[in-house]
Symmetry: C2
Subunit: 320 residues, 2 copies
């Protein structure tokens, strides 16, 4: 390399605006680890959120290298096409907020936005468990159930940018109410709160269990009871796994992916959920060909999924 010439590397900046933390990273091409990384508190309900976002981006901005694009991830609902946040949870300041246009204006660089579940799916597809696959179904099972779908190497976004809301698929029209207020969604059967709610309902009916009626009960409490052999707790996970299998069977018929990746806290519980899931899925898939070479696996990126997804979005939209 000729002496005296500064070689600049094209850099992508990724930001993951989470409920608790806002994290930013600068990535050089072809390296999975960031060149710079910074994490600050989101403080969603406190004013000055946009200024905090600008400062965390500035903190990771490279001194010499040029920034190609900025990728931004946030909880939805949001519009990835216009870059507007619509109504992020607990943050009145950011209702109908033109996030991408304002970031572009400030930094003079193209910016791209999508929701956390879509980006976690995109991150796993490009940098995690889904590497090498072209048709990826990512499902996060946590407080809610979210999805990220890649078909033919492209992120499914939809006309309004509201596609892949897998948790709001109707799996039983007469089922219990979902967090969104509508009945019978997959999320109303298999999310963490749905598992706890089912146990509370059964306790109210007088079903015996080591678990006590406690409005703060979590899916983790239920899992611990199940590991002690508590029948109600085991049954709660069986029910969740069974409905998860029903939902994923429909998703296979509709998307026909080569890999299903599970993320989110509830999905880390293991066999308790995935034994009944696997039985249910195999009972419900209507043609054996969907299961040929199908990989069902856990997410690999953990807390980095959203950040690497925001990076992947910025890369792919910039043609990298």
């Amino acid at each position: 390399m000729p002496y005296g010439i500064i070689v600049t590397m094209p850099t992508i900046i990724a930001v993951d605006i989470g409920g608790t933390h806002m994290r930013a990273a600068a990535y050089a091409q072809n390296k999975q680890s960031p060149v710079k990384y910074k994490k600050i508190a989101t403080l969603a309900s406190k004013p000055g959120g946009f200024e905090r976002l600008l400062s965390v981006i500035e903190d990771v901005w490279p001194k010499t290298d040029s920034v190609t694009a900025i990728g931004l991830g946030s909880p939805g609902p949001l519009d990835p096409h216009s870059g507007y946040l619509l109504a992020p949870p607990n943050n009145p300041e950011w209702h109908n907020f033109p996030l991408t246009p304002k970031v572009e204006e400030h930094f003079g660089v193209k910016a791209f936005l999508d929701n956390d579940a879509n980006l976690a799916g995109l991150g796993e597809y490009r940098y995690g468990a889904g590497k090498g696959h072209h048709h990826v179904l990512y499902i996060t099972v946590s407080t809610g159930i979210g999805g990220g779908v890649i078909t033919d190497d492209r992120l499914l976004q939809g006309y309004h940018g509201l596609a892949a809301e897998l948790g709001h698929s109707i799996v039983d029209p007469d089922g219990p109410p979902c967090s969104c207020g509508f009945n019978g969604h997959l999320e109303a059967f298999a999310s963490g709160p749905a598992i706890a709610k089912y146990v509370l309902g059964e306790l109210e009916k007088g079903t015996k269990s080591v678990l006590k009626r406690d409005a703060n009960m979590t899916a983790r409490d239920v899992a611990e009871a199940a590991h002690q052999g508590d029948e109600l707790a085991i049954q709660a996970y069986q029910r969740a796994g069974t409905y998860l299998g029903i939902g994923v069977a429909s998703f296979l018929h509709v998307f026909d992916p080569s890999i299903v990746i599970f993320g989110g806290g509830v999905s880390q519980v293991g066999q308790l959920l995935f034994d009944p899931f696997n039985i249910s899925l195999r009972q419900r898939v209507f043609h054996p060909r969907y299961l040929e070479e199908l990989v069902i696996t856990q997410a690999q990126l953990g807390d980095d999924a959203g950040l690497l997804g925001a990076r992947a979005l910025a890369e792919m939209k910039s043609g990298l």
Copy 2:
């Protein structure tokens, strides 16, 4: 144009292998009507099907113009990636049959294959009701329920080529058996045979109706009775429309299209099906944004959908 020079136009050949007829057409670029068209009997159960296919293609082959590609449509299951027919109905000769490779070998031209519902959706997207839309959900409601999905201007095919089997989405795990043998699919509630079967079941229970117990009853018979004011018949369509609304609500949450196009004989019944469908859909869509600017409409291409879809497939795969 200089005198004495023959100008050749790139031509696409499309073939629609239906249950009753095999139809072929040659299309010049930018013209919706075919330059040549031929229809022959499929005679699926009689030997010589491949020879009949070759002859119908030869009949529309242009004398001077060059053929860019051949698009082929057939009932599934089939593999659009390898071009193999897997198990077309009533045709033992074509089980595991390498249709596309054999057509390519014979004519020395690239050929592309997909199933009839996917191609009807693609045809409507490119030449029919979906023109100008980038996110299209096509649903055919007929003897079965099939789907064709275009997301971001690309046909959803999936890893095994088995995506968009919308009729086999599970809308109620405890629902009646589907034609495929599995329970609670959309097709088991809202296809023509499902409507007739529901009426027959109710008649068996003693429900009063102008309809008589007749194993050959069709959805058309039920529609006629409904138009005469028969309550059971009306209820049968209400049930079908309600479940169709539940299914489409989930499809909106998952695909977020800008247009939903209905094809197939049962969908031509009008308000009888679509009044309850619309009520059900609006009751079930969990965020009003999905319905903003959403067009819900009938297919425009009729019998030509498959042919124009096969044409569109060949054009798009050739980069036209």
